[in-house]
């Protein structure tokens, strides 16, 4: 079979998986043309990544929540409230950043466990339990900021989480741009290529289906080129931001957990068929607690990222984050029927939605039109998803 026939076949077979990447690519290309290249400028890409960060971590957590057939509407204002707590702990109590971050993360986990308790113990539907949470956290956020209004955070190390960049390696100034970023880019490519080759070897050994050789090579070259390009662009500006590092770390860890571990298998089993999972010795209750605790943890992280980015806690922080996260997860291919969805997909989904906002902002599109455009993209993504799923059987 010729290369192009192979390519056609592979694309058709994996249209759902590759569709997302293609959509992201197309959206970015369109905005690059429409903004005369401004969209793809190092400064804007860096901005885009930092803007995506706090929604992306929420989308990762939300993916697992939706996979086990629940939903969490409370994450937006919980993130806002926890951000305000962080600000109060630093500004009014005077704790250092290094103490505040872990405290807030633990509070997030605790909040997630409360949600899970309502769902598991009382059997309240997640939609209702977290709608109650939405109201309560919104009220708590207003209370926390009532006396002061916006709380300005002076701590430079805290503010660096959302605005700063990783330091460069000293003594390598002769390399143009940010040397550590370039180095990390190269390391990422090497790891990716070796990992893929290893994986392919293993699969071939067990007689699983793998991509035809030429297509496989094309995939490696294509993804390596994109990673390389992003690293190059970033290195040309200030390097990788701390936000990007945190998001990559979260996505990496969650990707590993969901695809390789017993816990991940149990989560997807509960989503795929809760009764069968329960009768197989997988405790649905335990998994529900774990998934909501993880959601709480990531919500706290999102709150920290956002508060740090604004360098202040505001009375409206977190508004609509939950819907952005849910939209990102759906664009990324999760299914409300449960058991289907990937962390990487949701990251791409978050990038798609953030690119739309960012690109339209650059073009000066009115906010009203922006909402409509994002709504249409969300609907299109889910229609595409349903159509390809039906065809694929």
């Amino acid at each position: 079979m010729s290369f192009f026939q192979d390519l056609q076949k592979v694309l058709r077979k994996n249209v759902r998986e590759y569709g997302m990447y293609i959509a992201l690519f197309v959206i970015m290309a369109i905005f690059t043309v429409l903004t005369d290249g401004l969209f793809l400028s190092p400064r804007n890409i860096s901005n885009l990544i930092n803007q995506t960060g706090y929604v992306a971590v929420l989308a990762v957590g939300m993916t697992l929540v939706i996979v086990i057939r629940h939903i969490d509407l409370s994450v937006g204002f919980l993130a806002g409230f926890l951000g305000a707590i962080a600000a109060i702990l630093m500004v009014q109590v005077g704790l250092p950043t290094i103490a505040v971050v872990p405290i807030v993360l633990v509070l997030g986990i605790f909040a997630g466990l409360i949600t899970a308790f309502l769902i598991v113990y009382f059997g309240i539907p997640a939609f209702v339990a977290t709608l109650a949470g939405w109201l309560i956290y919104r009220g708590l956020l207003l209370q926390a900021t009532m006396g002061t209004g916006t709380i300005i955070i002076p701590n430079a190390d805290f503010n660096a989480i959302g605005n700063g960049f990783i330091p460069d390696i000293p003594g390598l100034e002769f390399i143009p741009g940010h040397a550590l970023t370039l180095l990390l880019g190269v390391i990422a490519i090497v790891f990716f290529v070796l990992g893929q080759i290893n994986d392919r070897k293993r699969k071939t050994a067990y007689g699983f289906e793998v991509l035809p050789g030429a297509i496989f090579a094309l995939k490696l070259v294509f993804i390596s080129a994109i990673v390389g390009l992003v690293a190059w662009v970033m290195a040309g500006y200030n390097g990788i931001s701390w936000t990007a590092v945190i998001v990559l770390l979260v996505v990496g860890v969650y990707h590993f957990i969901t695809t390789r571990t017993v816990l991940g298998r149990h989560i997807y089993a509960v989503g795929g068929n809760p009764e069968a999972a329960d009768l197989s010795g997988v405790s649905v209750k335990k998994i529900t607690y774990v998934v909501f605790a993880s959601m709480g943890f990531l919500t706290a992280l999102s709150g920290i990222l956002f508060t740090s980015r604004l360098q202040s806690a505001t009375t409206t922080a977190g508004t609509l984050f939950e819907l952005d996260a849910i939209a990102a997860a759906y664009v990324g291919g999760v299914s409300a029927a449960g058991g289907v969805g990937s962390v990487i997909g949701s990251l791409i989904g978050a990038l798609v939605m953030a690119s739309l906002t960012n690109g339209m902002n650059l073009m000066g599109v009115d906010i009203s039109v922006q909402y409509i455009a994002r709504g249409l993209v969300l609907a299109a993504a889910v229609i595409f998803d349903a159509a390809t799923r039906r065809r694929g059987g």
Partner: protein
Amino acid sequence: MATPILEMKSITKTFPGVKALDNVSFRVAQGEIHCLVGENGAGKSTLMKVLSGVWPYGSYEGDILFAGEVQKFKGIADSERVGIAIIYQELALFPELTVYENIFLGHEIRKGALVDWNETIKQADKMLKKVKLSVNPAAKIKDLGVGKQQLVEIAKALSKDVKLLILDEPTAALNEDDSENLLQLIRDLRDNGVTCIMISHKLKEVISIADTVTVLRDGQTVVTLDAHKGEVSEPVLIKHMVGREIENIYPKREHKRSEDVVLEVRNWSAHSQQLGRDVLRDVNFTLKKGEIVGFAGLMGSGRTELALSLFGNSIGYQVKGDLYINGQKQQFKQTEDAIKAGLAYVTEDRKAKGLILIQDVKQNITLANLQEIAKRGVVNDQAEAQVANEYRVSLNIKTPTIEQKVGNLSGGNQQKVSLGKWLFVKPNVLILDEPTRGIDVGAKFEIYTLMNGLVEQGMSIIMISSELPEVLGMSDRVYVVASGRITGELPVEEATQEKIMQLATS
């Protein structure tokens, strides 16, 4: 042959990679009961889906002639319009709605824009009389037994003025009495001019009811037999279905009796808060090493509840009583504890409770024992593939690869995956709940052989089954359950179908 009401000519239906129907021709005469038999995956359900418009015109090759006219159904609504109704194995009723609402759902009797409830109830009553079901039309479906629900489905079909009624394994979930009632009803319907097509795995039933039998195998018509010419008998049907003679469908095994009691249950009771009654009362029984103990009884007698409550999954039940495994008293808080103690439970309803249909063969097989193939919580893919392939080979699971989604496999192969999952747990006590329901003769034989192999290796099996020949053919001892109690214990040498039925209805 009398005038055909239905002729399907040279029907070919392909799915990606599979030819489900290959040039099938199928003729049904006006006013007969025509049984369709064949192994799972033979194409029976696909053929009926083509006929009822689930697979629309254009998605298959060939012609459908109904009442002398070529039909081009675009959907179920089209086939219903000409008088074809299909009743699936899984009933399509709404549990929270009443009997009369269900009967007229989708074709309500109207008075202007409103539903004419008085007329609806009157008509529903008439339909219920036709199917000889004496229930209050205002009762909710969820409060009726499966047998009665089945009759409501038929009443619904009759209310649509059905000419050709298709029943897909109508007695699979029914006990002997309900089955006999249903078969009699189908005969009455025939005598009143309704032609019936019935898919069934129960050959005795087929023989007792069919005017004509068509056997499908591997997507092709093998033979059409006329019962009135004495062409239909169990050995003949089995021969055509599997393409080989099965001498004895219950393989023999050496009865190696051991006196070691593996599992003992004393004074076991369960109360359901939801139903407001006891589902199990003072159950006592023992299971010995290397023994197959059959649990016979009617549907709803409490056998599945017994299995679930022993297995630590007694959601909604208050359980009392003592459970001993190898002489050790056990108390399971959750299923995981039961699995650790050496129990495994292959569920009755493999699709709803046994398997994760959207996941692949290997993920399903390893789900209950992931620790075995994981190190520090990380699953070892190679070990997993190895395990899955071992069970694929040893259980003869027919699947292109172990990465195939379980939902795409046939019933028999799904059951084997379910078995593989529980064998991988390496249990001492295996509870099988209706292990061969809805699967074909060939796969049944394989499962029986497997069970014999397992007990020879020292495993003990509790087999819950509603098929009496199976209970008699496979068990060493038989317990009969009725209304949540054990009403009798019989060594297999003394057990007969009559004795069991007597205990089951006591």
